[in-house]
């Protein structure tokens, strides 16, 4: 039989399914965004505001402030950080060739957090000229450096001859997290009252403080990291065969590893800097997507960005509704829902892996 020129649906080819999933997720993100903008303590009705706008009537200042200065930046931050967490999880798993690698679990989040605390407590010691240049970005930048150093360290420790041992990775992650925690403790001990207040606000890990200004400090790190993802996709696919085989099929392995580490550090660092530690998005999202449409990173990475954004925005809605008019820290919501899924992944893998 002659091969059809567009033999799209060969058995085992899941790219059509992954592409369909992309459009479904995009639509779902749109709906979630509407839901998020329409939910909140003040009873602003989005349909009514839109109706007023359509009819050419002015909207009240209160409605404008609630929508434009509170809910929209909060939505934008949820989307950006959800995407960053899920994509950095997927990239890290691809780099470590392991579905359990997650910046939050293996200590990279803790390293980024340490960087942020460093900046808050010791930022005042910087020469005025440096502080002026870094400005509002100082905490993000320090979190990025902390994330980068810990990812690099972890990769060095856990990877031998191109193979990563799960056990070493998780144990090294525990050690790294504990070390970061200890140094953070010392810094907190050294902090003065004003710094302690900053630390407390930072550590609450929520989207509650979202503002356009905060978004501006995170976006310059997160957007380039997300933009790197498509460049990394083929490389991460190749790395699934191991570093040696990835080189044999023509991939620039060292460059891919470097870019992957930079992307993980930038995305994790920025999200930790503005929203504190939000766990499990990075591990649950890629895992669900691999089950649904396979591990091909050319689809996994964009789909993870979308699903990560959807889940974090939904978690934020839950965080705002459960104890309204107060709010739960969003990290509690993602951990409550995500930790059981993580355990389920562990149970499923127990039989077949070297854990």
């Amino acid at each position: 039989m002659v091969a059809l020129p567009f033999a799209r649906s060969m058995p085992g080819d899941r790219s059509a399914r992954a592409a369909m999933l992309f459009w479904v997720l995009l639509a779902a993100l749109g709906l979630t965004a509407l839901l998020s903008v329409g939910t909140g303590a003040s009873g602003v009705s989005v349909p009514q505001v839109l109706g007023d706008l359509w009819a050419g009537q002015p909207i009240s200042t209160r409605d404008r402030v609630v929508l434009l200065d509170i809910r929209l930046p909060r939505l934008a931050m949820g989307v950006l950080i959800g995407a960053a967490l899920a994509v950095s999880g997927a990239v890290m798993q691809g780099l470590f060739r392991n579905p359990l690698a997650d910046p939050g679990i293996v200590g990279v989040g803790a390293g980024a957090g340490l960087g942020a605390v460093f900046a808050i407590v010791l930022g005042g010691l910087l020469p005025a000229s440096v502080a002026a240049v870094a400005g509002n970005h100082l905490v993000s930048l320090a979190a990025f450096l902390g994330g980068w150093a810990s990812t690099l360290l972890l990769y060095r420790v856990a990877t031998r001859r191109g193979q990563t041992s799960v056990a070493t990775m998780l144990l090294a992650g525990i050690a790294l997290g504990a070390l970061a925690g200890a140094v953070t403790g010392i810094l907190v001990y050294l902090a003065d009252d004003r710094q302690l207040r900053d630390l407390t606000f930072w550590g609450m890990g929520s989207l509650a403080g979202a503002s356009w200004a905060k978004l501006l400090t995170a976006a310059p790190l997160i957007l380039p990291a997300l933009a790197l993802a498509p460049l990394l996709a083929r490389g991460l696919n190749g790395l699934a065969l191991g570093e040696a085989a990835a080189g044999h099929i023509g991939l620039p392995v060292q460059r891919i590893k470097l870019l992957a580490i930079l992307a993980v550090a930038a995305a994790t660092g920025a999200s930790v800097a503005v929203a504190g530690g939000i766990g499990f998005i990075g591990i649950v999202v890629p895992h669900l997507l691999r089950l649904a449409s396979g591990p091909d990173h050319r689809w996994l990475l964009p789909n993870a960005a979308l699903l990560g954004a959807i889940l974090l925005v939904l978690a934020d809605i839950i965080a705002r509704l459960v104890v309204a008019p107060a709010e739960l820290p969003i990290g509690i919501v993602t951990a409550t829902l995500g930790a059981p899924v993580f355990l389920w992944i562990l149970l499923r893998r127990r039989g077949m892996m070297d854990l």
Binding site: M10, D13, R14, A245, G250
Partner: protein
């Protein structure tokens, strides 16, 4: 042409290959044989540019240490001794990993043809991790074959480097895989294969390099290298080579030889 001259490999402060000379020519199947730990895999990894080494190594006239990864990938494919796979890819997705650029109709075709060639038609949609060891080994061979599907491209030979390609296969599939390698060579490509089975080597190889303790004891035709003396020296057990009338060289392990030591 593949030539390695005075090739020396030192890993973790241990010298593993001591100035060996090794050549392989296109159109031929060149086997590397020797006892466990003698340096066969190390030789293969050095001539494919995977690990650092000293002494000139050229493939089709290119210095392999100067060539870029993608340049080498266009002229040679490598089947490692074992290939762990990290995520649940399907069989056809694994084969496509070896294809250099985007997915088009022709490449769809190559993946399917390579799988069929390795006796795996109908397995395209199966998950790689759920296959048996021997089936996985053939999927990896299909991936490697797909990478250099045409044995000769633009007048230049392409190369297959295979590390123990038949080690976990039954005799039927051993013959199938050796025949694939043979056909690739007969079509003008070059094949370098690390082999354990000396009979298959004698049957299929044009040239054999015998390695022991990081040194090449000899390279030449199977008849010249697979001799009682050299094999006994290399493997440290008594080996008797028999040549039945009109059937080339064949060997049998001799239980008695161990007792005779």
């Amino acid at each position: 042409m593949l030539t390695a001259t005075t090739l020396t490999v030192t890993l973790s402060h241990t010298t593993i290959l001591h100035g060996v000379n090794f050549t392989a020519r296109p159109g031929a199947l060149t086997a590397i044989v020797g006892p466990n730990g003698s340096g066969k895999t190390t030789l293969l990894r050095a001539v494919t540019g995977e690990i650092p080494s000293t002494g000139p190594v050229t493939l089709n006239g290119h210095d392999i240490r100067r060539a870029k990864a993608w340049e080498l990938a266009a002229i040679r494919a490598v089947l490692p001794q074992a290939t762990p796979l990290a995520f649940p890819f399907t069989v056809v997705e694994v084969v496509r990993l070896g294809l250099a650029s985007g997915i088009d109709a022709a490449r769809h075709g190559i993946a399917a043809q390579a799988l069929a060639r390795c006796g795996l038609q109908g397995y395209e949609g199966r998950l790689y991790q759920e296959l048996s060891g021997g089936q996985q080994q053939r999927v990896q061979l299909a991936r490697v074959l797909a990478q250099v599907w045409q044995p000769v491209a633009q007048g230049h030979p392409r190369w297959l480097f295979l590390d123990e390609p038949v080690s976990s296969l039954d005799i039927g599939h051993q013959l199938l895989v050796m025949q694939i390698a043979r056909d690739f060579a007969d079509a003008g490509g070059g094949v370098v294969a690390v082999m354990h089975d000396l009979n298959l080597t004698a049957m299929f190889a044009d040239s054999v390099a015998l390695i022991a303790e990081g040194r090449v004891l000899g390279q030449g035709t199977p008849a010249a290298v697979l001799t009682d003396g050299l094999l006994t020296q290399a493997y440290r057990c008594r080996v008797r080579v028999n040549t039945p009338p009109a059937a080339g060289t064949w060997l049998l392990p001799h239980a008695a030889s161990l007792a005779a030591e």
